[in-house]
């Protein structure tokens, strides 16, 4: 911690020191305590130090823009989904989780059905006092090229089932419960959102993307949880004043 940047950049610090006439260490401690108090107020144990590679999902950025009224101000046409009023009305905190890539697995069931994919999401960073009221799993589906579709008998429709793995998988044995299912069209690339509020399930979509190019960070499966820690109002939409 001792090398973290304080609340005020260097030149500000000099000015503050001059003003208060305290010793450098005293003022430095004062500022650090002040910063710690503020971070604590934000529910943070320490000052975040995000790595440069961390990608902010566009969905959460758009949620913020819709909720704060910024999108409305800017015309808001570029956002392709409806603000989840119901989920947001019971939550003051929305968190985004990418799945654990090193835990991806293609699980080959013995009855020869289509290959299920397994995602694992680590939600351990959610504070204990935050009660989750709902969660959605967002999967990006690339368009399937037309000749494949003409060959298949399903007339351009695909069914996606989302299951929760109730027990850690053992050889040949997988106990699951179906959370959500949907028929989707092949011919469109878009995000599909599944309600996984009862639980969380992990799917491996890497096989959907043979080459995980640059846009992988923005197109990988995203689990979004909605929770409330009892402090303050929910994230209902705010109209700009």
């Amino acid at each position: 911690e001792n090398n973290h940047a304080s609340l005020i950049p260097e030149e500000g610090k000099k000015k503050v020191l001059g003003l208060q006439g305290r010793s450098a260490t005293q003022s430095h401690e004062l500022l650090r305590d002040f910063e710690a108090t503020l971070l604590h107020m934000f529910g943070l144990k320490r000052r975040p130090r995000p790595s440069r590679s961390t990608a902010v999902p566009q969905y959460l950025l758009d949620l913020y823009r819709l909720q704060s009224g910024e999108a409305e101000e800017a015309g808001g046409q570029d956002i392709a989904f409806e603000y989840p009023e119901r989920a947001a009305s019971r939550a003051n905190t929305v968190r985004g989780f990418h799945h654990e890539e090193h835990m991806e697995m293609i699980y080959a069931p013995d009855d020869g059905e289509l290959t299920p994919l397994r995602f694992l999401f680590n939600l351990s960073s959610i504070p204990e006092d935050e009660l989750l009221s709902s969660a959605e799993l967002r999967l990006y589906r690339h368009q399937v090229n037309e000749d494949n579709v003409t060959l298949s008998a399903d007339h351009g429709l695909h069914r996606i089932n989302v299951y929760e793995v109730l027990k850690p998988p053992r050889q040949g044995q997988l106990i699951t419960q179906l959370l959500d299912t949907r028929l989707v069209r092949h011919n469109a690339s878009r995000w599909e959102s599944f309600d996984v509020s009862p639980a969380v399930s992990a799917l491996d979509s890497r096989s959907l993307h043979q080459e995980p190019g640059e846009d992988w960070e923005q197109l990988r499966p995203l689990l979004v949880t909605f929770g409330h820690d009892g402090k303050g109002h929910p994230l209902t939409r705010r109209s700009k004043r």
Partner: protein, 113 residues
Amino acid sequence: SPKQRGRKRNRSCRRHSLYVDFSDVGWNDWIVAPPGYQAYYCHGDCPFPLADHLNSTNHAIVQTLVNSVNSNIPKACCVPTELSAISMLYLDEHDKVVLKNYQEMVVEGCGCR
């Protein structure tokens, strides 16, 4: 004179502009949005007698009355009387993205208490 009265009005308790710029305080690496926001703050005199529009409490009125007799009594203070929330999008200690609503971040009104 009008100029004098103008200046006097400026000194009484009211809300002042204060823009908090997160890059100024070096927090723009983990706060994704907003880049900053108008927080405002309260400052100014709580004159005697306290005017109605200063939203004063009974306590402030009694304190000011007593203060006019005994100068050791602290005067009524100019503080926020109404605050509102803002939402923030940020990266937490675990590099996870969080959108959260924070209470009492913006001063909507000031008064004498």
